[in-house]
Structure formats: C-alpha cells, structure tokens
C-alpha cells in the first residue's frame, strides 16, 4: 500500500478560536511517502500544526484529508486515528520505572483485543524490529536507566513499530549528540516511502541533505511550502533565520 498524501484546506490552528496562530488560512499538500520538514522559529506553530494534522484540538477550522479518506481528520475516532498516525511529541511522557520492552509493545495496542495478547506474528515482528533498530540491549532495562539518547531511540522505535501510515515527529533530535542526530536522520530517510513522514525540526543542514520537501512557518504566516531544491534556490533559510549561515 502506498503511503497516503495529506491535503490541507483552509486550515486555522491554535489554542483558541479568538486568537488563532495563523492570520491567513493555509492550503498545502504533503506528498505520500515523502520526508517533509516543518521549520520555523519557536512559537511559530510547528507543534500545533503537527497536532492539527491528526485532528487534535489545535485544529480550529479547515480540513485535513488523508489519502483517499473522505472525512476530515477532526471527525475521526481515536481507533481510526491510530490506524493512520503515529506521533512522537517534543517531550515524551513516560513512566520512568517501566521496562523498555513493555513500553515498546504499547505500539501494538491499537490492534490488540481486550486481553492484550500479542499474536505470534506480532512477536516475531517485534523481535526483528528490536534487532534492526538496535534496541535489543535495552529491552530489559527500565527507561530511567537509559541515557537520554538511548531513550529517544526507544521512543522513536515505538513510533515506527506502530503499524501506521503517517509518522509525525516533533523535534525528534532534541538533546541528542551530533552523531546520534546524524544517525536519526539516516534512519528517517531509510523509513520513508513506506510511510509519509512529517518532522518539525531545527536541524537546518540535515533538512537540506535528507528531506524531500520543506514547510516554513514564520510568525503568523506560511512562508514557504515546496521542494528542498526550491527552498535552497530561493534562500528561504535566510528569511526565517537571518542570523544563521
């Protein structure tokens, strides 16, 4: 199955209808199976935008249409949301006493029955995934005993283990050292095509090297939405972040 395209029509985002984050309504499209970066200064609405995409309360008005689904996301049930979206928040909440393995297996929760049993397929998929994602060494450790880099990898693992079609990542490389940042981006790149990936980030150089398209917010406006080459050609970066070179 092809990863779904996301069509956004006259979107308003924010935390209250009286003071939405954007002045003009936004219309844009995110290609299926692409790696798309969302960049912009702090407070420009990156997080609200990601959450609006999955129909959370920051979607004030407008439509978000995913793939061939006829209904906009805000009318979806949580069950349906879970089949399409997996999400990594900027600061992941977690139970520090929980073991990595049971944390990761929560990714299967959407398709578990009442008793929460895992099918043998799921278990073998889990084992393969843990090996591929290099998580085997952490499985029996509590989350609090991992370094913040290791933990972030576990959180990312949970996101990719979930059988979703759209992955929303909110600043996934915060707190990570440069090596791990590089590895994370390589990983994201390797996972696209199968999933539509939208990443809010401040890693400007990685965006140019790894992403397919870029969405740029500045203050109250959608400054740019298009391919990485166009973004580079028009030197958008200097418009949003004038102090960077």
């Amino acid at each position: 199955m092809k990863a779904p395209t996301i069509k956004i029509k006259s979107l308003m985002i924010g935390y209250s209808h009286e003071s939405p984050l954007n002045e003009k309504r936004w219309d844009l499209e995110i290609g299926g199976g692409t790696l798309t970066a969302v960049i912009g200064p702090n407070g420009s609405g990156k997080t609200s935008f990601l959450r609006a995409l999955m129909g959370a309360e920051t979607l004030l008005s407008g439509e978000v249409l995913v793939g061939t689904e006829a209904e906009s996301v805000e009318s979806w049930t949580c069950k349906k949301i879970s089949r399409f979206f997996s999400y990594l928040p900027q600061e992941s909440l977690f139970d520090s006493l929980q073991e990595t393995e049971s944390y990761l297996k929560l990714a299967f929760l959407p398709r578990q029955g009442l008793l929460g049993r895992l099918s043998t397929d799921d278990i073998s998929q889990f084992d393969n995934f843990a090996a591929e994602f290099e998580l085997r060494a952490y499985l029996k450790k509590r989350l609090q005993d991992l370094s913040s880099g290791e933990r972030q990898r576990v959180f990312l693992g949970r996101v990719f283990l979930q059988p979703s079609q759209v992955v929303l990542l909110d600043e996934p490389t915060n707190h990570l050292d440069p090596n791990v940042v590089e590895k994370t981006w390589a990983l994201l790149k390797s996972k696209k095509n199968k999933k539509t990936m939208i990443v809010a980030t401040h890693d400007l150089s990685q965006v140019e090297r790894h992403c397919d398209s870029v969405i740029v917010f500045s203050g109250k406006d959608l400054l740019f939405s298009g391919s990485v080459s166009e973004y580079q050609g028009r030197q958008i970066k200097r418009l949003v972040f004038p102090l960077t070179y």
């Binding site: 959370a56 949580c78 069950k79 949301i81 879970s82 139970d95 929760l109 959407p110 979703s164």
Partner: protein, 319 residues
Amino acid sequence: MKHKPVVLVALSLLVLVMVPWLGSESISFFEIFTPGTLSHRIFWDLRIPRLLVTLSLGGVLASIGGTYQSLFRNPLCEPYILGISSAVLLGLVVAETFFHQKIGSPLSLLFGLGLALLLIVLLMAFSSSAKASSDRVILFGMGANFVLSALLFLLLSFQTKSVGGGTLKWFFGFLPWLETKEAIEFFFGGILFLFLLMIFSRPIDALRLGDSVARTLGVSPFVTRNIYLVFTSIVVAITVSVSGTIGFVGLVIPQVCRIVFCPASMRCLLAQSFLLGALFLSVADGISRSIVPPFEFPVGVITTLLGGPLFLLTLWKGP
C-alpha cells in the same frame, strides 16, 4: 530477583495463617474445629470474616491507588490525596447529621458518591483548562481535600457528643466487624472489582504516554479517564462507608510494586497491588489488635507507622 514470586507467595501464606491468631483473646488451635467452643466462635464468626474484609479492602484500596496514579500520570495520585475520600466522608456525615441516615445506608452512600463525583467533575474541568499540568491537578485535589476536611471538622464540632466513639474514627480509618455472610460478599466483591479493572485496563497503559500519544494508540483520554473515575468512585464510596478513610495503602503499595516488581502492564500492577495491599492491611490489622488488647488502634495509624518507613526505605534504596 527470580525468587520474588516465591517470596511473595510464602509471605502471603504466612500472613494468612498468622493473622487470625492475633487478638485480645487467645484461642486454642484444637478448639476451633470443635463447634460450640468459644475459640470456634471467635475464630469462625469474628476473625475469619474480619480477615476476609481486610484482605478485600486492602486489595481494593491499593488497586484503586494504582489506577489513579496511572490515570493522572503522577505517583502522588490517590483518592485520599485528591480529596475524593474526604468528599465521600463529608457526604456520609452530612447525611447522618441532617437527614438521620445511618452511615452506609443507600441514601448516605448516594450523598457520598454525589459529592465525590462533583469533585471529580471539578478536577476534570480543571485538568482540561489550559494551565493544568498533572502536578497542578494534584495541588488542586489537595486544596479541595483541605477544604472538605475543614468542613468535616466544622460539622463534627457541632455534634461533639459523638466525637471519639462516633464519627471521629472515620477519619483515621478502621476495620469493621462484619457478619460472616456480609464478609464473604465483601471479599468476593473485592475480587470481582479487581477482575473488572484488570480486564479493561489496557487503555490505561496508553494514557501513561500522555494524552496526545494515547489518541494515536486508539485510546480516547477523555472517555477513558471519566469511565475509570466514575467506576472507581463508586467503589471508593463503598470502602469509605465501611472503613472510613484509610489513606496510606493506596499511595504506597502500588509505588512499592512498581519499584520492586517492575510490572509489564497495568494489569500486572493491579494484581500485584491487590495482593500486596491485602497482605499489608491484614498485617497492620493484626498488629493494631494485639499491641494493647483489648484496645484496638485505628488501623490507619498502624499502616502509616508500618508502611511509612518501609516506603521511605524503598525510595532511598530502590532504583
């Protein structure tokens, strides 16, 4: 570490065998099998029912504590801390003072439950407001608890004649002497409650990752939280109407379970908390009845004196 289950089972058996022998009257082992003797009556009509009630109560308190802690993502959450227990108690006392309803009667339970649900609605409304974090929800609950306790004291100082023997014991928490039949019902009621909680516990696992992630795991935070809060409040109302507010078990036992056993899911946590809570309260009860017989210390005082240092030690030495 592999021996933990074995130790737990051994400990349970030890407690179950020991506790019925503790108390003001010493009873003979051989006589308890001879109908008509005093020992037989004390053992089967008083101590065994008492043990059943205690086991059930301890288990229910601990598993509710575990549920609250996960629902609110905060280890401090518990009906007592959030003021839910006090709300129930206030409702019961209001019903007793102004409407002459015996504590535990259906109407008084309705008063207690009503007040508890009112507080829960307030808590939920507060927690969905923009400035709420889970810490502030706790603070809100604690604030409510102070107000409700003050109201309770106010009410009690009006009816001083019953202070001491009467309503005051509800504050400290105590264990009732129930008829054998009632005790058995209470025991199986507790077990039934545990199973219901366990069967439907998967959504709570998702809530621990935060509301926005829970939605992407197919769980509606709003619906889940409300269903669990209403369901558990009903049970809190029943426990408070039976035993007053026993504050310590629900706070500490689940936390100790999480530190010691590292449960893989909410379901495991509930089962472990229930078992450990049941044992803990039984031991505390045994002690409260045998320090200065025939005087019975309020069991809440013993749980705190016994569990407090244990809890601090686990925090200090644990992972």
